[in-house]
Amino acid sequence: MLELKDLTYQVEENNEIKTIIDHLDLNIDDGKFVVITGPNGGGKSTLAKLIMGVKELTSGQMIFDGEDITDCSITDRARKGISFAFQQPVHFKGIKVLDLLRLATGKNISVNTACEYLSKVGLCAKEYIDREVNSSLSGGELKRIEIATVLARGTKFSIFDEPEAGIDIWSFQNLIQVFENIRKTVKGTVLIISHQERILNIADEIIVIEDGRVKRHGPKDEVLPELLGTADAVNRACSKMS
């Protein structure tokens, strides 16, 4: 279980302290498929980066499987079983897809095994295994490879930061299937930050983050209708205006 206790994250902007995460408390149970949603600028991605250790807490405490990881480095957290698929995957000149998957698994895996991970994210493995992870790959391809690195690690806690961001609608359709498959096959806890109804729809739990706090946290069946209700209300209001 991941326990977040009284987390606060502040930054200094133009000599003013800005609070991004504001005394946030949250528990995420093992084996759950959890989707975090909420308005842009509400602190979702920041929260994910705090969990991975990419950003450093201002105050608060993080407990992972009963162990205090508040002061752990990114490397330590990764080794304790947390993985992170970045919203904007990084390019590496000279590092091939196969190399990255080998680094992810920590083993000298065979080409066949690597291909299995690529197939899971809907990439035709033969075409990609020897390609460099650089700007010759499209945004959608990089995103899938990024997701494949997290699947290859197979850790007990996987975070996906807006997997749908920056990819076209055609790639998105396939990506939804990828997550539906992850939903069926993965054993650990999955935490996805997303705005997409189809991803929200496969969640066990939905967490709404707004103004750096948890605004709502509950089973999908309870939270999703509330969210969609809001959207419906907006749509109705808009249709009246036109």
């Binding site: 990114i74 490397t75 990764a78 990084v90 000149k93 000279g94 091939k96």
Partner: protein
């Protein structure tokens, strides 16, 4: 006979674990250590100065020439002139390289002057590796000069690698290309400690439809210094591209000097240069896969210099 140090150097510069197949000439501490010629490839010692002529017959295909040089005695200084006469319609691989092991207090220096005369429609792959080792105070110095003269529709692919242990290098590469000729250069360089490396390329595109692509990837660590100069001269309808991509670390100093010289309205010349430290996001991504920062750095540099 080669001793163990010399054999180790050979492995580093030419990937040679035993005597190679095909033609070869191995030079150790200023003298010929071994030579083999084939029906199509002849190697002849020069009479007026140190060095060899490598003569490759027309139509020679799928053959290779290895001409590594090793220095294992401290204090040797030599300049060697090697000329390659490559016939028409050939397809050959040439592996050169110099390894210096200097455990003494005197400087060791090998300056190789290589000239390539490439015949029509011939394809050459040239690999040159430099390597230095030894803990003596004597410096390991390599100053290679390479001249390439390419006839019509010839293709030269050069790979220049210097990853470790050479204290000082001043490399000069000049090429002249005739109609339809292509020259590709991949340079990979890593400097550390107090090392200095200068690399100067000058490619003249003289024939219509000739093209070149000069790509340098380098990593400068510690207090080392690198200077990369690439000049492409376009005298006719031609395509030229030079790219310098450097990772700078610690207190290193990297200079990239592009020079494009177009003398024809249809000369298309491009230069790209980028110098920067390892991107923080790259380190973070690899650390999120469980690597330490040092391991991540090693992977990033290893990939970059591949």
């Amino acid at each position: 006979m080669l001793d163990n140090i010399q054999k180790q150097l050979l492995r580093e510069v030419a990937d040679l674990y035993k005597m190679p197949k095909g033609a070869y000439n191995i030079r150790a501490n200023g003298e010929k250590a071994a030579r083999n010629t084939t029906e199509n490839i002849d190697i002849v010692t020069k009479e007026d100065k140190p060095g060899i002529d490598i003569i490759i017959k027309d139509g020679t295909k799928n053959e290779s020439v290895h001409i590594p040089v090793v220095l294992s005695e401290s204090g040797i200084k030599e300049t060697v002139y090697n000329d390659f006469y490559i016939g028409e319609d050939c397809d050959v691989v040439i592996v050169a390289g110099c390894g210096i092991s200097n455990c003494g207090s005197h400087d060791s220096e090998h300056d190789g002057v290589h000239r390539f005369f490439v015949g029509k429609n011939s394809k050459i792959r040239y690999v040159e590796k430099h390597y230095g080792e030894g803990d003596g105070s004597g410096k390991r110095i390599l100053n290679p000069v390479t001249e390439v003269y390419q006839k019509e529709n010839s293709y030269v692919d050069m790979e220049m690698v210097q990853i470790k242990g050479v204290d000082s290098t001043h490399r000069v590469t000049k090429a002249e290309l005739a109609e339809g000729a292509t020259m590709i250069v991949h340079e990979r360089l890593m400097t550390h400690g107090e090392q200095k490396a200068t690399s100067v390329y000058e490619v003249e595109l003289n024939g219509e439809g000739s093209s070149t692509d000069v790509i340098s990837r380098s990593v400068a660590k510690d207090n080392s210094e690198q200077i990369f100069e690439a000049a492409i001269i376009g005298n006719t309808v031609c395509n030229g591209h030079a790219e310098c991509d450097a990772i700078i670390m610690d207190n290193a100093h990297v200079v990239a000097v592009p020079k494009l010289d177009a003398r024809n309205v249809d000369a298309a010349l491009i230069h790209e240069a980028a110098i920067g430290k390892i991107a923080g996001e790259q380190l973070i991504k690899l650390m999120s896969l469980g690597l330490t920062e040092a391991e991540a750095e090693e992977q990033i540099i290893g990939g970059f210099l591949r």
